[in-house]
Symmetry: none
Subunit: 146 residues, 2 copies
DNA sequence: AAGTGTAGTGGGAAACTGTGGATAAATATG
DNA sequence: CATATTTATCCACAGTTTCCCACTACACTT
C-alpha cells in the first residue's frame, strides 16, 4: 500500500532513496515520469503500462492530446533501484520538478510522487486550509462542481 | 463497537496506546489518516479501503480533486499495532493534529478519532453547550440546512 | 486483604535504514 | 592509445526505528 509522506535528501550524485516501506510494492525496476503540478511520478512497471495505454488512446489528431502524449513519453525514463533502494534522477527531470537537496516523497495509493520539499509544503498548506471546502464541492461522481 | 472517550499519553517515541476495548475490533493493522478539524482518524483496514476507493474514483484531471487525493493519501499511513496495543504516530501527523503529550481518543462507531486533549476539551465544551441547536439544523436525511 | 490478571507507561538493546563516501567500471576526450 | 571524466557498484557510519521486557496501578477474585 503506497501511502504516507517522507522527507529524504537527494545527494550530489542525484540519488534519491525510496522509502523502505514502498520497496516491496515497487519491485526492482520503476518508471520515473513528469507529473502534473511540477512533480515527478514514480510508477511500478505495471502501473506505468496502464498510464501508457491511456496516453496511446488519446486522439492524436488534436493538438492538446498530441502534445500531452509527446511530453509524457519523452519525459519518462525507466530506472533500476540499486541495492540500497535508491534511484538515479536524470538531470532534465530534476529541473522539471525544481528538485534541489530536500525532497518530499508522497505515497498516492497506486503511485509515488516526488516534490521539491519547499514546493510541497507550500502546496500542502494551501490544500489543508481548504480540504473541507474542496470535499464539499466534489459531488458523488467525483467531479468538481465549481 | 467503537464508542467512548479515553485520555492517554503519547510517549517520547510517539507511541499511543489503543484503548483495550477497541483492539479486537481493529485487528492487527490499521491506517492512520488526516481527519477534518485537525484530528487524526484511525481506520480498520477494511474501512480505509472503502475510503481509498472513493478517493481513487476522483477525476485526477481536475485540480481540486487531485489536491484532495494527494493530501489524503500522503497524509495517511498504515501501521502495525504492537504486542502491547500501541501505534506509532508519524511526525507529520503529530504536527497536523497539534499532538503533544496528552491525547483524547474517541470511539465513533466505525472509526476512532485522536485529538490533542486541549483542543478536544475546547471543542467539546463548545459543542456540548449547543447540541440541541445543532440538531435542529440537521434534517432527516442527515444534511445541514444552514 | 492478599493474590491474580490486565492495562497503560517507560526504557534498553538489536536491527534496520538513510546518507555519505570510496572504489571499480564505463564512457568520453585529446 | 592513454588520460580524464563520468557513471555505476559497493561499503561504512550514525541515527532512528523496532522489538522486547520491566514496572506500576487499578480492578476483580478468592
Amino acid at each position: 500500500m503506497l501511502i504516507g509522506e517522507y522527507k529524504f535528501l537527494i545527494d550530489e550524485k542525484k540519488r534519491l532513496a525510496i522509502p523502505s516501506k514502498f520497496r516491496k510494492s515497487l519491485g526492482k525496476k520503476v518508471v520515473i515520469a513528469r507529473g502534473i503540478d511540477n512533480c515527478l511520478v514514480i510508477y511500478h512497471l505495471n502501473e506505468w503500462t496502464k498510464e501508457a495505454k491511456k496516453l496511446e488512446g488519446l486522439n492524436k489528431n488534436q493538438s492538446a492530446p498530441r502534445s500531452l502524449a509527446r511530453i509524457m513519453f519523452s519525459g519518462a525514463c525507466d530506472v533500476d533501484i540499486d541495492k540500497l533502494g535508491r534511484v538515479l534522477i536524470p538531470d532534465y527531470l530534476m529541473k522539471y520538478a525544481f528538485l534541489k537537496k530536500n525532497a518530499a516523497i508522497l505515497g498516492l495509493s497506486d503511485r509515488i510522487e516526488v516534490w521539491d520539499d519547499e514546493k510541497w509544503e507550500e502546496n500542502k498548506k494551501k490544500t489543508e486550509m481548504s480540504v473541507s471546502d474542496i470535499a464539499e464541492n466534489i459531488n458523488s461522481s467525483g467531479t468538481q462542481e465549481n
